[in-house]
Amino acid sequence: MRVQLFVTCLNDAVFPKVGLATARVLEAVGCRVEFDERQVCCGQMHLNSGDEASGRDLAVRMAEVFAEAEAVVSPSGSCVAMARHFWPKLAGDTGRIAAQKTFELSEFLTHRLAQGLGRGWTPEFAGRVAWHSSCHGRRGLGLLDQPKALLRQVRGLELLEIESEDQCCGFGGTFSVKNPDVSLAMMDDKLDALEATGAEWITGTDSSCLMHLAGGLSRRGSRLKTIHLAEILAGGAD
């Protein structure tokens, strides 16, 4: 299967490793990965900031790039939720077509593995890991147990449960800078819960939430580190 990698603007600019890891995982389960360089941003940041016109413009451009693909996979639940829930409205038929074939990484993998594809994939990662459930993946895409089920297949990985998994970490994109006080209050509670697990690593489907949490951990001087799900799943896929 040919898969178009929807890397997201944030990963492209700041977390290239996440994009590379995603490609490796996809290849490990037998996909041919392509990257269309015309892609930039799904439009979510602008839409959520109240600039619908710019959000639409960006969404239309993305939808046009991806509408031609066989399948589109992204290491971001949030950007995929944006595609699924808003591209049809913002980008019409092209938006609908593109959204229908766009999947978040763990969603795509779960589906593929369930079909018996990707048998040779044997990820390894040594460490105690807590799973952070990002809201857009959780409620926008219904990602509840799928990512955790994938993590349980990783050799050497100890998966730790976190208290109140469904609570938002306080990132919320534009919210994090426009309402920093509330955002940070939410983040503090989340970091407390994550630290209480005794994990060494926090992982999740979204670099944005992880960037927010990592920023707070660094400010706290915590030893806890963040790592994207794709990077864990790519362990041993080189």
Partner: protein, 461 residues
């Protein structure tokens, strides 16, 4: 003060600085909302057709709103046929005048009140006081607010920001109650004793309504304590203020309300008491019934098809109880008697999106979606928040940054240039909407990598 109204005096991001600093209130809210969340989930899980109920209720409400003028006229006719009187109020001021005139018409200077967010919305109590009419709140939480001079901070439990110890103190001070402990049962008993004589002597009651049925002219109040029954039964005059959106078509639709509302609000299978009445019943209860139908911005909300589902709200408060922003900010930060997720979409729509303070409210959300998940009438609050942000528009200070980012992101080449530029400076700026200082307030920025993904990709392939 005890009324409240719906007009915030500050933007949310500013008001919240004060409320976040109140550690006691945050602890109280956290305790109360965590408790109720678990119970609500259990109450929902017990109902096999819960998701269908939500769909049915959403359709029912949409149907009601699409036919609102016709249903209101039908309701008016039925209520009149049954011996009641119907009044129409365009705004808060008209509604207040109507209630005051009713009391004055009977020569009364005191009314008892059943908890009603609608009368808080129109700031009825302060107005009646200015006309020499005392309004006595009889719902425990409203009484607490009234005695403490607090604004309501929750639509179901307006005094949720107070814990038992604070209430014990308040009742000792204001009611002279002898309260050796802060046991909630004893606090409730103190309220019972305090209000009992008031009920028995009451001549007029003012209530809200949870809903009214157009087909039959029946009005309903859903409650727990029995203060509602007292107010709806003992006085000879009853005035009920109801938002126009609360009417629905058929008596059979009552099923939806009574199955969804109690489980969503107090997490009970059924609330202790629900009273239904239709006009006046000779020899039983008030012999004068006035129903006041209030617009106060609701027609404005109705006017936009993309956001009108806001009016489906049955004020259960489930969305408040699961909202992480509400839990930390507290109700007062929203500056309106309607706080939390529903407040963030309802208040600005009632007031109009031009309202400079209220239009900050749709920003008061991380868009986590917990509210939609629990809303019994399936209001897509996250989507509406986004729609309203667009309507509120972007502040000039942010607009330049957003436009610049959009320009850069509209072309892969410009985007790459922006990344290189960001790498040289400190600047994640093109990727962070709004001021960098907001981010840096409590978080460090990640290091920029030596190469972007697309550069890496080109090198590796």
């Amino acid at each position: 003060m005890s009324g409240g109204g719906i007009t915030p005096s500050d933007r949310f991001e500013k008001a919240v600085k004060l409320t976040l600093a109140d550690g006691q209130m945050r602890a109280n809210l956290r305790h109360a909302t965590t408790t109720i969340r678990r119970k609500r989930q259990r109450a929902q899980d017990e109902v096999p057709d819960w998701q269908e109920l939500r769909d049915r209720a959403a359709r029912m409400k949409d149907d009601a709103h699409a036919r609102l003028p016709e249903l209101l006229i039908q309701l008016e006719e039925r209520v009149q046929d049954a011996g009641g009187r119907v009044h129409w109020a365009r705004d808060a001021a008209e509604a207040r005048e109507i209630v005051a005139a009713i009391a004055a018409g009977y020569g009364l200077n005191r009314v008892v009140k059943v908890k009603s967010m609608t009368t808080d919305e129109i700031e009825l109590n302060d107005f009646l006081a200015s006309r020499g009419i005392a309004a006595v709140e009889t719902d425990l939480a409203e009484l607490i607010c009234q005695l403490a001079g607090d604004r309501p901070s929750h639509i179901l439990v307006p005094a949720i920001h107070r814990n038992r110890r604070e209430i014990q103190e308040l009742f000792r001070r204001t009611l002279g109650a002898d309260l050796p402990t802060d046991n909630p049962a004893e606090l409730a008993e103190a309220a019972r004793l305090h209000l009992r004589r008031t009920f028995l002597a009451a001549e007029m009651a003012v209530s809200g309504a949870n809903f009214a049925v157009a087909e039959t002219g029946t009005v309903a109040v859903v409650e727990s304590e029995g203060n509602g029954r007292m107010c709806l039964t003992l006085p000879r005059v009853l005035a009920t203020v109801m938002g126009v959106e609360k009417v629905f078509p058929l008596w059979s639709d009552v099923e939806l309300m009574l199955r969804l509302l109690p489980r969503s609000s107090t997490a009970e299978r059924m609330n202790p008491y629900t009273s239904f009445w239709t006009g006046v019943r000779p020899g039983d209860g008030p012999q004068e019934f006035h129903l006041i139908l209030l617009d106060n911005g609701r027609s404005r909300v109705l006017a936009d098809p993309s956001t009108r589902e806001t009016l489906r709200c049955i004020r259960c408060s489930a969305c408040l109880n699961v909202c992480p922003v509400y839990e930390r900010a507290g109700g007062h930060a929203y500056g309106s008697v309607y706080p939390g997720p529903i407040g963030a979409i309802l208040t600005p729509q009632l007031l109009g999106m031009e309202h400079g303070e209220a239009n900050s409210l749709p920003g008061a959300s991380s868009l986590c979606g917990a509210c939609l998940e629990v809303c019994p009438v399936k209001i897509d609050i996250p989507r509406i928040l986004v729609e309203l942000r667009a309507k509120a528009g972007v502040k000039p200070a942010e607009s330049a940054g957003l436009k610049a980012a959009a320009w850069a992101m509209a072309s892969p080449r410009r985007f790459e240039a922006a990344i290189r530029w960001a790498r040289r400076g400190r600047g994640l700026a093109p990727l962070l909407p709004g001021p960098l200082s907001g981010w840096l307030q409590g978080r460090d920025l990640p290091e920029m990598p030596a190469r972007s993904f697309r550069e890496e990709w080109r090198r590796s392939r």
